[in-house]
């Protein structure tokens, strides 16, 4: 049996990023399960869109170099294949595939949870490296702030909102962009710009309280 390469300090950042990826996969899978399970009037296109989102997130995790080199340690092969089969099935034969889809998604969630647990164990079993990495990173910013383009687009989104709330949302959008991986920031800020008119409409909505209606 081939020996696994030891985990290095550089691997830690990749492991943490992988945890983040797996959290996204879990979220997408749960959203898809809920959509299929609960929506009486199923919009198949919505289910397909969510399934594509799931595959994209699984692919991100699966294609991380760390996952490829550590092979069985962080095995995502089965989850990757299931996610792709799921989308293929829903595209080609949705009526027949829909009943099987829930089972497949649940299996993806189980496999991802397993990988997540293994990554957590790897991180905690290399606590000495975590401590060393923390020492090396002391004084450095925890994450790189968003770049100019992304910040500029966030400002565009805020300018579409009512003046009294622009400062609040500017801060909130900036905080979100700061927290997310760099590869997600541009798509995130485009969605903020796209949904800004809806935010504006929602903020202008008259509050409706629970109670008897005329």
């Amino acid at each position: 049996m081939a020996r696994k390469p030891p985990v290095t300090v550089d691997d830690l950042e990749s492991l943490r990023a992988l945890v983040h990826d797996l959290d996204f996969v879990r979220g997408r899978a749960r959203g898809l399960i809920y959509t299929i399970n609960r929506a009486l009037d199923l919009d198949l296109q919505l289910a397909l869109d969510l399934a594509h989102d799931l595959v994209r997130e699984v692919d991100f995790a699966y294609n991380r170099p760390l996952v490829r080199t550590r092979d069985r340690d962080l095995d995502l092969d089965r989850a990757h294949d299931l996610a792709h089969d799921l989308v293929r099935g829903l595209t080609l034969d949705p009526d027949r595939m829909l009943p099987r889809t829930l089972g497949r998604i649940s299996e993806v969630v189980e496999l991802v949870e397993g990988c997540h647990a293994r990554v957590d164990r790897l991180l905690s079993s290399h606590q000495d490296l975590v401590t060393k990495a923390a020492g090396q990173q002391a004084g450095e910013p925890a994450a790189r702030p968003p770049g100019r383009t992304v910040r500029g687009l966030a400002v565009v989104a805020c300018k579409m909102l009512p003046t009294p709330v622009q400062a609040r949302y500017a801060q909130e959008f900036y905080s979100e962009l700061f927290d997310m991986p760099r590869r997600h920031r541009l798509s995130h800020v485009f969605r903020l710009v796209y949904t800004a008119p809806s935010i504006r409409t929602s903020l202008r909505a008259t509050p409706v309280r629970g109670g008897a209606q005329p």
């Binding site: 959290d23 996204f24 879990r26 979220g27 997408r28 899978a29 749960r30 959203g31 898809l32 809920y34 959509t35 609960r38 929506a39 009486l40 009037d41 199923l42 919009d43 198949l44 296109q45 919505l46 969510l50 989102d53 949705p94 009526d95 910013p141 925890a142 994450a143 609040r168 949302y169 801060q171 909130e172 900036y174 905080s175 979100e176 700061f178 927290d179 997310m180 997600h184 798509s187 995130h188 800020v189 485009f190 969605r191 903020l192 796209y194 949904t195 809806s198 935010i199 409409t201 929602s202 903020l203 909505a205 008259t206 509050p207 409706v208 309280r209 629970g210 109670g211 008897a212 209606q213």
Partner: protein, 112 residues
Amino acid sequence: MARSGPKMTLPTQLVLRALLEHPTRPTYGLQICQSAGLASGTIHPILARLEAAGWLTSSWEDIDPRKEGRPKRRYYVLSKDGVEQARYALAHAHSSINRIGALRPRTTGSEA
């Protein structure tokens, strides 16, 4: 007694479901997105509607950004009334009984 409130679109239901997993625990936008399985950046209209309806309250976290090395986050939590309203709304979101062919895909063009 009919209750009113935000329209129960599927994304709204997903957000409420995510919030109801831990109704008293404040969560921030990205966490809600992940739990709900929705694309980030798409839930702010939903959160704004829920806040406008009084189902949700929000506040800034109490940290020193310089010390933490990151900006403050905006945390959301269901109000007391909001928890009840959300549970009621989710329970009744699928009570329309006049839908047929629920699992059939939308068809375009002429039928065979």
